[in-house]
């Protein structure tokens, strides 16, 4: 196959290509996984949520 008779060399030729494809598949499958928010983004969200809650409370007259 592919003009290479030694199975060790044919094998490693294919393994090299397959390992690069593994990297591609892994990258695509996990493209959006593992994202982390910045500490300041988290703080902003928390203060926004607090603001929302207090507004709601005022609104409802609690």
């Amino acid at each position: 196959m592919l003009g290479i008779n030694d199975p060790w060399i044919l094998g490693v030729y294919l393994l090299s290509v397959l390992s690069a494809l593994l990297c591609v598949a892994y990258g695509l499958a996990n493209w959006n996984r593992g994202g982390e928010k910045e500490a300041n983004e988290i703080r902003e969200e928390v203060s926004w949520e607090k603001g929302e809650t207090s507004m709601e409370e005022k609104e409802l007259g609690l």
Partner: protein
């Protein structure tokens, strides 16, 4: 070849590099920016920078030439470069390194290990191993690049060495890791384009993938007798099991270079430059393809150059290159490729050398500045950038001086020495730091010291390539190597030093008191 056109192309390239270095400088405000690129690097830049640092000119020209001499067995190195050097390194080691580096606010590889094991000794000893071990590796790359500039641009060697060093020093000193990584990304892109063209043109020139390989397989009877006696069975066959070349291929290339890469400080620090695991996931995709296009292409083309030379000149590649395997790739490019490609390929090699050197200088600068000097004088905060800058300038000056004064026989094994040292000194401790909560400070220190000295001992007294070049064994023992019987003189130090270091790290850790639970918790926060 049009020297003026080539000089113009290179000038444009240098200007682009200068601009990216300037951007790095403009965006550097604090030491985190300078040492870990502010921990907010784009995944493409991170992956390309990792790849370009990983792959030097010698990986393409030197190892490509070795493939021209010995054949496609070298592809085992490509496979490990991708599977271990990218996939395992990024997914298994990289994500934890990033998280732990962030938890401990570490800015260099020795600092990460030192803070994990709460030991200042680890930081300055590690810094010293890097600062003392890396200059020879750096000067190998530097001399290669200066020779290349001398022959292609018709610039005097000494002037080329100085000019080249000053240009790199300028953007590394000013731009810090941001400058290094931005320029790396440009250089890696150039390298990718150059190698992609080389692959396509070689296969199309030789009639396609299978016919090209078939022709090479059919040439096994042309292997010279001296190579056949080393175990060479043809360019598309593994060397004879247990032969000298088999041992060199398996132990030095596959284990030494293939696995040693996991603990290279200038690569590990890249993981600490991204914001989250998501960036690492994305970088895996880019890195895997990039490395395949670098060493994969270099080794396949190197081996296939034999077909070209036999068909066109009636001799095998090593004969066409007058017996010097380092010349196989350049001679092949000049003979078989169109002239416009020769320009692209020269730029590719220049980019490969610059990207590797810039990261080496940066790693050495942080090692001597932050890891050794600041740790020993007990200084923290504020002045890290100027101290590291001075460290980088010292590293550049040392590499240039080594380039001028050391004979090639000493410089050539520099890369192997550094790879072996890093693997033995750092890899077991690094793996335990990330994966074994029970590992202790005493275990880490004992393993690092044992690995360093086992590796140095093997290099000086047993592994014949370095032992003969260094001449210390001859001076003390009166003979070239301690054990002359095969296979020991060709067994790479990593095969011995790495297990020694690992066993010592584990045994001493188990024999000493476990580390404080709250510290371990802090290190592993956010790590499953």
């Amino acid at each position: 070849m049009d020297i003026i056109l080539l000089n113009i192309i290179i000038l444009v390239y240098i200007l682009a590099v200068g601009y990216l270095g300037y951007r790095g400088w403009r965006e550097t405000r604090d030491s985190a920016d300078y040492m870990v690129a502010g921990r907010k690097i784009h995944p493409y830049v991170m992956a390309m920078s990792y790849g370009a640092t990983f792959i030097s000119t010698s990986a393409i020209v030197g190892f490509g030439g070795t493939a021209g001499l010995f054949g496609m067995g070298l592809l085992w190195l490509t496979f490990l470069n991708i599977f271990v050097g990218i996939f395992i390194a990024f997914v298994v080691f990289g994500k934890r390194t990033r998280r732990m580096g962030h938890n401990l606010s570490a800015m260099t590889f020795p600092e990460l290990l030192a803070r994990r094991f709460e030991s200042r000794f680890i930081q300055y000893f590690g810094g010293l191993v890097i600062f003392l071990g890396m200059p020879m590796y750096a000067s190998v790359v530097l001399i290669g690049a200066a020779r290349f500039i001398e022959t292609t641009l018709a610039i005097d060697f000494d002037l080329a060495l100085m000019l080249f060093s000053v240009i790199i020093a300028a953007y590394v000193v000013l731009g810090g890791l941001k400058g290094v990584m931005y320029t790396d990304a440009l250089q890696a892109t150039i390298m990718f384009v150059g190698m992609a063209f080389l692959l396509v043109m070689t296969y199309s020139h030789l009639g396609g993938i299978a016919p090209a390989h078939q022709a090479l397989t059919g040439m096994a009877n042309l292997v010279p007798a001296n190579l056949a006696s080393m175990g060479h069975l043809g360019w598309t066959a593994m060397p004879a099991f247990g032969s000298a070349w088999w041992w060199t291929l398996v132990s030095t290339l596959v284990l030494g270079v293939g696995i040693g890469v996991l603990a290279m400080p200038q690569l590990v620090v890249r993981f600490m430059t991204v914001k989250s695991s998501r960036e690492i996931n994305r970088a895996v995709l880019v890195g895997g393809i990039f490395i395949l296009m670098m060493t994969g292409v270099a080794f396949v083309v190197g081996a296939l150059s034999n077909v070209y030379f036999v068909q066109n000149e009636g001799v095998i590649a090593i004969a066409a290159a007058s017996g010097n395997s380092d010349s196989i790739i350049p001679v092949y490019i000049n003979a078989a490729m169109p002239e416009w490609f020769v320009y692209i390929f020269m730029l590719t090699l220049l980019a490969a050398a610059m990207s590797t050197l810039s990261s080496q200088f940066h790693a050495q600068g942080t090692a001597i500045g932050r890891d050794v000097y600041e740790t020993l004088v007990g200084m923290r905060g504020g002045r890290s950038i100027p101290i590291t800058r001075i460290g980088i300038i010292i590293a550049v000056v040392v590499a240039v001086i080594l380039g001028y004064v050391l004979p090639p026989s000493i410089i050539a094994p520099g890369t192997a020495i550094f790879f072996g040292l890093c693997a033995a000194a750092f890899l077991p401790m690094y793996a335990c730091a990330l994966f074994w909560r029970r590992a202790t400070r005493a275990g880490a220190i004992a393993g690092m010291v044992a690995g360093t000295f086992a590796s140095l001992f093997w290099l000086v007294f047993v592994h014949q390539k370095e032992a003969i070049a260094l001449g210390i064994a001859k001076m003390i023992l009166g003979r070239d190597v301690l054990i002359a019987s095969m296979p020991w003189p060709v067994v790479d130090p990593i095969v011995v030093a790495l297990p020694v270091s690992l066993v010592v790290t584990v045994a001493v850790s188990l024999a000493t008191k476990p580390p404080a639970a709250d510290h371990v918790e802090k290190c592993f926060e956010g790590i499953d």
